[in-house]
């Protein structure tokens, strides 16, 4: 449920009582949010909206902040914000199915490994501030924090400059790769 209050409040009414139901159903809430009426009033939007956020051939919808994806490995529920980020930054429409499945399998494998864990974001953010990092090494696209510009694993040219490395968020294979990089890096 979402309550939207315009800047000049003069009266309160419910759509069901104050407006004909057909008129209420015709109202475009998204448009009203961007271009609110100039008279003061309160709109109470009672019904959660299903929003189509499909991308790259993956059917997806979000309901109350939770995205449900229909993938080849079955339905996958995620925070809508994470799926939105993945669809905008992580992969191309042609590769998202493959890339998402790879990250999902890796994350599930890491979950079973008691050595692999995701750090609290408040910890990672403080670590970022401490070293001035722009890059984060570790985790998967499904768990990496959103406040670092670059997120990588393994042998990537983006692992240049100050970075935060979550050793427990790397598979043993990726730990071996980043160890070699760290032994030769000077920054």
């Amino acid at each position: 449920m979402l309550g939207i209050v315009s800047s000049l409040i003069s009266e309160r009414f419910s759509l069901g009582e104050a407006r004909a139901s057909s008129e209420a159903q015709d109202e475009d809430f998204s448009s009203m949010i961007q271009n609110p009426p100039e008279v003061g009033e309160v709109r109470i939007h009672m019904d959660p909206a299903y929003l189509d956020i499909s991308y790259g051939g993956i059917t997806a919808s979000t309901f109350q902040g939770v995205a449900t994806l229909i993938t080849s490995a079955g339905p996958l529920e995620k925070k809508g914000a994470r799926w939105h980020l993945l669809s905008k930054k992580f992969s191309s429409p042609g590769d998202i199915r493959t890339d998402l499945n790879r990250e999902r399998l890796l994350q599930e494998t890491m979950d079973k490994d008691t050595n692999c864990r995701s750090f609290a974001w408040k910890v990672l953010h403080q670590a970022k501030l401490a070293v001035g990092a722009m890059t984060y090494v570790g985790d998967t696209a499904l768990t990496a924090p959103s406040f670092l510009k670059n997120v990588v694993r393994g042998n990537s040219t983006e692992t240049i400059g100050p970075r935060v490395i979550n050793w427990t968020g790397l598979s043993r294979k990726d730990q071996a790769i980043i160890l070699l990089i760290l032994q030769t890096t000077i920054d």
Partner: protein, 102 residues
């Protein structure tokens, strides 16, 4: 720096988005390059967080990295609330027993 607090997200948090934290009965080591000079107050803050017994990971709602894109994908973001040209007194993304929570 060696610490021991609730500094990990719980296993499989990515499936639910829950922000509960756990210690997993292990200490945490922080290694910093000897070529870095870091202000003591930043290290103190990091150590305090790693030793914290707080069971929740407070969300970081800022504009760093790709946060703008991330927050644009929330329920409020998808509806365009951040671009609302007016005052926002309260929004909520949940419907619990017909009430807007705080």
């Amino acid at each position: 720096m060696t610490t021991k607090g609730k500094s990990f997200r719980k296993t499989q948090w990515w499936l639910t988005g829950e922000d509960d934290l756990a210690a997993y009965d292990r200490k945490v080591e922080v290694w910093i390059s000897s070529r870095h000079s870091i202000p003591q107050n930043l290290l103190d803050n990091l150590e305090a967080l790693l030793n914290s017994s707080s069971a929740k990971d407070a969300p970081h709602n800022g504009t760093e990295g790709v946060e703008d894109i991330f927050w644009a994908g929330t329920e409020a973001g998808l509806m365009g609330i951040p671009r609302f040209p007016g005052l926002i007194y309260e929004t909520d993304g949940s419907q619990e027993k017909g009430n807007i929570g705080n």
